[in-house]
Symmetry: D2
Subunit: 136 residues, 4 copies
Amino acid sequence: MTETIAHSSAWEWLGFRLVDEAEGMATVEMTSREQMANQAGFLHGGLISTLADSAMGRSLRTIKPEVRRAASFDLKLSFIASARIGETLRATGKVVHVGRRTCVTECRVEGDRGRLIATASGTFMVSREKQQTDAD
Amino acid sequence: MTETIAHSSAWEWLGFRLVDEAEGMATVEMTSREQMANQAGFLHGGLISTLADSAMGRSLRTIKPEVRRAASFDLKLSFIASARIGETLRATGKVVHVGRRTCVTECRVEGDRGRLIATASGTFMVSREKQQTDAD
Amino acid sequence: MTETIAHSSAWEWLGFRLVDEAEGMATVEMTSREQMANQAGFLHGGLISTLADSAMGRSLRTIKPEVRRAASFDLKLSFIASARIGETLRATGKVVHVGRRTCVTECRVEGDRGRLIATASGTFMVSREKQQTDAD
Amino acid sequence: MTETIAHSSAWEWLGFRLVDEAEGMATVEMTSREQMANQAGFLHGGLISTLADSAMGRSLRTIKPEVRRAASFDLKLSFIASARIGETLRATGKVVHVGRRTCVTECRVEGDRGRLIATASGTFMVSREKQQTDAD
């Protein structure tokens, strides 16, 4: 599956890579670069939220019937520790709830040696291969 | 003030520019580029959250006593409309509450002709030039 | 309109009262009572979120075409100051965005003499009198 | 421990009961009553957020050194299914991160037969029995 799905421009530009996926979950990694530093010299928090959003959106591609489009419309981040430049971040998104048109996901972002960098949750509007007919 | 504060690497890389500021508010702009597109061909939502986080953090630099460091630890986004590639986004961050160690901010992100792209709120941990002694 | 809409059981039990409304906004008040105190002797934060949720939901009843049902599915609170028992809280909900099936709202909760107690945002799933046909 | 800690007025009034706790987690139950109904006849979402806030706050009482006071200042709810009047809700709060002054928690709220009603996350300001000296 990972070979057949073309990654987005943003994923390539940001250096995001899909490193694991299973039904209802996906793990996406990035290694922070010099140009991603905030004024304090750490990884800009917005890029952590970008990684988390991507991992949660990607986790929705693993459910059946297949999701054709998933767009987050609510995103919440709790930043716990700063991430260093050069550090590899690993975001694991999990599907918490699958409704007819909306899905709820959550995410953990870990840095080197598994230290917790951030947690996130996201609600997505989805359109699926075969529309289900039961109420959300 | 804008001349003396060096912009961060992330701001330069992402093309963020401070276009307005006053006490308790700051407006930051970006023009979305091809490499920022998600799979659906719109601006990746994470970059909208990066812009909002930056505008809210920047708004905290306008309060007195001066904020030396501001780090978001809670960030919430509501995405309302997709942003096109090539569209200029304007995020206006406002300070809602200034406590001793924490500050609450909010943000509106608008696209071309002022259409609403997203709203956001953020809570920041701050350290200030002169520590106040009253409780938060 | 306020006379013809029966208030819910929860509103009566919690002592919520609609004190103002206009297109796109509604203000709901409550006076905190002894039995609403948390262990520290202040108003339980959950009841502040209940008030905010109610004010935001109520603001959606003021838009056209008429909303028949509005159910929050994302709710975010920033608690800024503790509310005392006996204090009257005034929550003003505002409609930020009206989509076909989802609406975004925000809220400010103020206590005596207008001091800021909390801010909130909420996303609601709505069903309306006449379904619009344009995409959300 | 549950015998020696007096429950708050709000807990008694709302019928909240602590049914389980261990290091880093606590489970709090409530059975929804007629007077808690919203206009649609389901449990008011604000009371679900009150239950979640209580379970997350209670989970912080299980960590060492002991927490003397915990006040939520950011609370986020995702409502997934409506809860019926008469249904028993079980909220399990978990500590995700313990900092010097702030803690991050998360929560799942389940109804009858374990169906998922809501998920939540909360950030709390805490004061502890012995102040630690390391940075947050």
